[in-house]
């Protein structure tokens, strides 16, 4: 079990995932599209979300403060805005 945190269009929310860190990036992106479309992620419901919406997003696999598996699906952050 892992927590999938999705950040999309400035909103960020958690979703309990049946998978763990071993899940592939492709699977995580596919699942994320499905749960956001279905409204399964609180505060992140986009019924018409494009299937490639997360193609350029970054996936981080990090341990949470309690040691839990947390998977972050997030936009790229290339800038310090110089």
């Amino acid at each position: 079990m892992a927590i999938l945190n999705i950040t999309y269009q400035g909103q960020s929310a958690d979703y309990e995932l049946e998978l763990d860190f071993a899940a592939s990036d492709e699977d995580i992106r596919r699942i994320a599209v499905e749960v956001v479309r279905s409204g399964g992620v609180r505060g992140l419901h986009v019924a018409q979300l494009a299937p490639n919406a997360f193609d350029h997003f970054v996936i981080d696999r990090l341990r949470g403060t309690e040691g839990e598996q947390r998977i972050y699906l997030r936009p790229k952050v290339p800038f310090g805005a110089a």
């Binding site: 945190n5 950040t7 269009q9 400035g10 909103q11 960020s12 929310a13 505060g43 350029h56 970054v58 981080d60 990090l62 949470g64 403060t65 947390r70 972050y72 997030r74 936009p75 790229k76 952050v77 290339p78 800038f79 310090g80 805005a81 110089a82």
Partner: protein
């Protein structure tokens, strides 16, 4: 021992964080090769009188003139050839660069010197940012070269939020040695 902090890149995130570090119990060293342009006034902590000045020097002058706070300015571009020299004597390095190559050069030098390093970074659309310690940070590259940044000023509130979160992370490190990572979105600031 007084902390010595080197802030690399004093554009939007760096300049915003530095002005919030003006009372931190540390000596500040600022590194940036770039010059202040009038367009920077919309999103970076610079005043009209700083236009044309080197950014590191401009921040140093503003800290001194507005608050009587001292800092050291290094108006050079950090690269593999001079990174060790720019970090010399510092107890904390802060990455506010706007490109992956500079971030990597800084990280390599900080790791080689055993200096803790914290990164701050922002999404191009201004909806999301990260403050993350080097142990868990991998720099993201632009999707396409020359991708639009946040310099137009429309993302200033998010720049302020990420810069303030970075300043707090630095404050916690200086005060208690804590290394806290944060994720900043329009939903709020979350520890990660």
């Amino acid at each position: 021992m007084t902390a010595r902090i080197v802030v690399c890149g004093v554009g939007a995130l760096g300049s915003t964080a530095v002005q919030l570090l003006r009372n931190v119990d540390a000596e500040l060293r600022l590194v940036d090769f770039d010059r202040v342009e009038s367009k920077n006034l919309a999103a970076q902590w610079f005043v009209k009188q700083s236009v044309g000045k080197n950014k590191a020097e401009a921040v140093r002058l503003q800290l001194s003139n507005f608050y009587g706070a001292k800092a050291e300015a290094m108006g050079v571009r950090l690269a593999a050839t001079n990174a060790a020299q720019l970090l010399a004597g510092c107890t904390l390095a802060v990455d506010c660069f706007d490109n992956a190559d500079s971030r990597l050069a800084l990280a390599a030098a900080a790791r080689a010197a055993g200096i803790p390093l914290v990164h701050a970074a922002l999404a191009g659309d201004g909806t999301f940012g990260l403050v993350r310690w080097d142990e868990r940070f991998v720099p993201d590259r632009e999707d396409v070269a020359g991708q639009a940044t946040c310099e137009g000023g429309e993302h200033l509130p998010m720049i302020g939020l990420v810069g303030a979160t970075l300043a707090r992370a630095i404050q916690d490190f200086v005060r208690a040695g804590e290394r806290r990572d944060y994720m900043i979105s329009l939903s709020g600031v979350a520890r990660t």
